[in-house]
């Protein structure tokens, strides 16, 4: 139930994120979710969820880019009032701490918590639809 996510170390430099995205575009890799956690210290972490993470990892490594695969959970969020509030309420009741979250394509909400598997179980138990890794691949084709 965990989705492979790429965490990429990027320094503040004009055009750096553009370069990374271009690299993935060249290999026809589709980005399903995207987020930048920036700092004031001159660097940040770019989170990417893509359709073919292994290929993306290889491409990034070839270019000496510092990257790690860090799984996240992904809940499909219906576009109506109260859904996000409910997700957060469930997680907080389960004493789970959200480290970051971002919205991707098709109402996919990616969430990184301190205990991802537990979080996925909690949400699934409340009848939320959880995206699986293979959904990303099939979603593209």
């Amino acid at each position: 139930m965990l989705i492979p996510q790429l965490s990429i170390f990027v320094q503040d430099k004009v055009g750096r994120v553009a370069e990374i995205c271009a690299l993935l575009a060249q290999r026809q890799i589709n980005i399903a979710g995207f987020d930048i956690a920036d700092t004031t210290e001159g660097f940040g972490i770019l989170h990417l969820v893509v359709d073919r993470p292994d290929l993306a990892l290889q491409a990034l490594h070839e270019h000496q880019i510092v990257v790690k695969s860090t799984p996240v959970i992904c809940v499909v969020l219906e576009n109506r009032p109260g859904r996000l509030a409910l997700v957060l309420e469930l997680l907080s009741k389960a004493q789970l701490s959200v480290e970051y979250m971002y919205l991707g394509s098709d109402n996919n909400m990616f969430i990184g918590t301190d205990r991802n598997e537990r979080a996925a179980a909690v949400l699934e138990g409340a009848d939320f639809r959880m995206l699986r890794a293979q959904d990303l691949v099939s979603g593209k084709e």
């Binding site: 170390f9 990027v10 320094q11 210290e41 660097f43 972490i45 000496q64 510092v66």
Partner: protein
């Protein structure tokens, strides 16, 4: 005009006779230290056979590496119980350079500082505020005791905290300060915010400036800002510290106190002596130090002797303000830093590569050091908080090794141009002082 009229104005001949007598005594003493016993023996030198100052050149040179290798006590020439103080400065790698002083050594050093301050015109009615860092660094205690010996009221303010510095100056009528040129420029900018419209209203008369190289232009700028006279002070911890050489009231070159040191100017490549007036590396021998005599020490500082006699009447030769270094030592906010120290710290940290770059900039007239470090892939977990912690840890490690606060910037592999020699490792954007 002279605090030590006899020692300052004796004839050249008498001075050289005194130097030879002290050199012979120093050699006998040095041979008591394990390092020099071996060094002199392997060079085939018997101290008793050094019969003229010209014979000095047969003695091998001493380098900072020699000090590091004999750390901590290999150059100690007296019993440990005779040592009353130590000072230390940064070494080129992990180990600092330590100098031990006996009571005699401190007394002699204090005399030189007092003589220097007196030559500049300071007297017992003056109030001396020492804005140099106290501690292992020699600029604090060294000037402190010398200023006391002149009879001045000494305020051991130490460095930083401009608001308090200004208040002390105002409350106690400070007339003389010991300050780095960069801090002087910074302070001049800050003074108005503490209710003093013009730094000249502070009433300072003397600014003793050292620890960093600076140009005449900077000295004049500081003089204009404070309405005080700037006196250049030269020293290095290996040779006690400040007041190895000092400007007299003429302020045209620094008298190097030759009753305590023998000076040579050598070609840094061939290590042969250069004719008077030629620019080269300053090499010094202590001849009035008992705890830890050092023979023919390569200071790595470039200067030249001003061969003409000084109108002030002192016999001690003058050297030009320091014109550069023969090694890659950096002087950052008055602190000596070798790039190899940074490298040494980074090599201990598996999370980062050994590729680094030191970037030096000015912020509000103060030196700022940023170290760019490449993050290594295996250390990356994808966690932002861990990256922050790593950055802080490197900053902390560098601070404890360099005794200097610096900023660490984590960069991606390949961001730093591969170093071809030392120059690329350091980007100095401070501009000339």
């Amino acid at each position: 005009m002279y605090l030590h009229p006899h020692l300052e104005t004796m004839s050249r001949r008498d001075l050289e006779a005194l130097q030879l007598e002290r050199l012979q005594r120093t050699l006998a003493l040095a041979a008591e230290a394990p390092f020099y016993r071996e060094r002199l023996a392997s060079a085939g030198i018997e101290p008793a056979r050094i019969r003229s100052l010209a014979d000095l050149r047969h003695i091998p040179l001493t380098s900072k590496d020699d000090l590091r290798r004999s750390y901590p006590k290999g150059m100690l020439a007296v019993a440990e119980e005779d040592v009353v103080r130590m000072h230390a400065s940064s070494g080129t790698t992990g180990k600092p350079t330590v100098i031990f002083h006996t009571a005699h050594d401190l007394d002699a050093w204090t005399d030189l500082v007092a003589r220097s301050l007196y030559a500049a015109g300071m007297r017992r009615r003056d109030v001396f505020q020492n804005m140099m860092t106290y501690g292992l660094f020699t600029g604090g205690l060294g000037l402190h005791y010398g200023a006391e010996r002149v009879g001045m009221l000494v305020i051991p303010a130490s460095s930083g905290n401009s608001k308090r510095q200004v208040q002390l100056i105002q409350d106690f009528g400070t007339t003389a300060v010991h300050i780095t040129p960069s801090y002087a420029l910074h302070l001049a900018q800050e003074v108005p915010q503490f209710g003093v419209a013009d730094p000249r209203d502070l009433g300072l008369k003397f600014a003793v400036m050292g620890a960093e190289p600076y140009s005449i232009g900077t000295a004049r700028k500081i003089e204009a800002a404070f309405g005080a006279k700037v006196f250049n002070c030269y020293g290095l911890s290996e040779m006690n510290g400040p007041a190895v050489a000092f400007e007299c009231a003429e302020r045209n070159g620094m008298h190097l106190w030759e009753d305590n040191y023998i000076l040579e100017i050598l070609d840094p490549e061939t290590l042969e002596p250069l004719p008077p007036g030629a620019k080269g590396e300053l090499v010094l021998t202590t001849i009035n130090r008992t705890g830890m005599p050092i023979l023919r020490y390569r200071t790595k500082d470039l200067t030249r002797i001003l061969p003409e006699p000084c109108p002030c009447g002192r016999v001690h030769q003058r050297i030009e303000r320091i014109m550069g270094r023969t090694d890659d030592m950096l002087i950052i906010g008055g602190v000596n830093v070798f790039p190899s120290q940074v490298e040494h710290v980074l090599m201990e940290l598996p999370e980062v590569g050994s590729t680094y770059q030191i970037v030096l900039t000015k912020e509000n007239c103060l030196d700022r050091m940023t170290v760019k470090v490449e993050l290594r892939d295996p250390a990356f977990t994808g966690n932002l908080a861990q990256l922050h912690a790593l950055q802080k840890r490197i900053e902390h490690e560098l601070k404890s090794a360099l005794l200097l606060t610096c900023r660490v910037k984590l960069v991606e592999p390949g961001d730093i141009p591969p170093s071809q020699g030392k120059a690329v490792r350091v980007v100095d954007e401070r501009g000339g002082n």
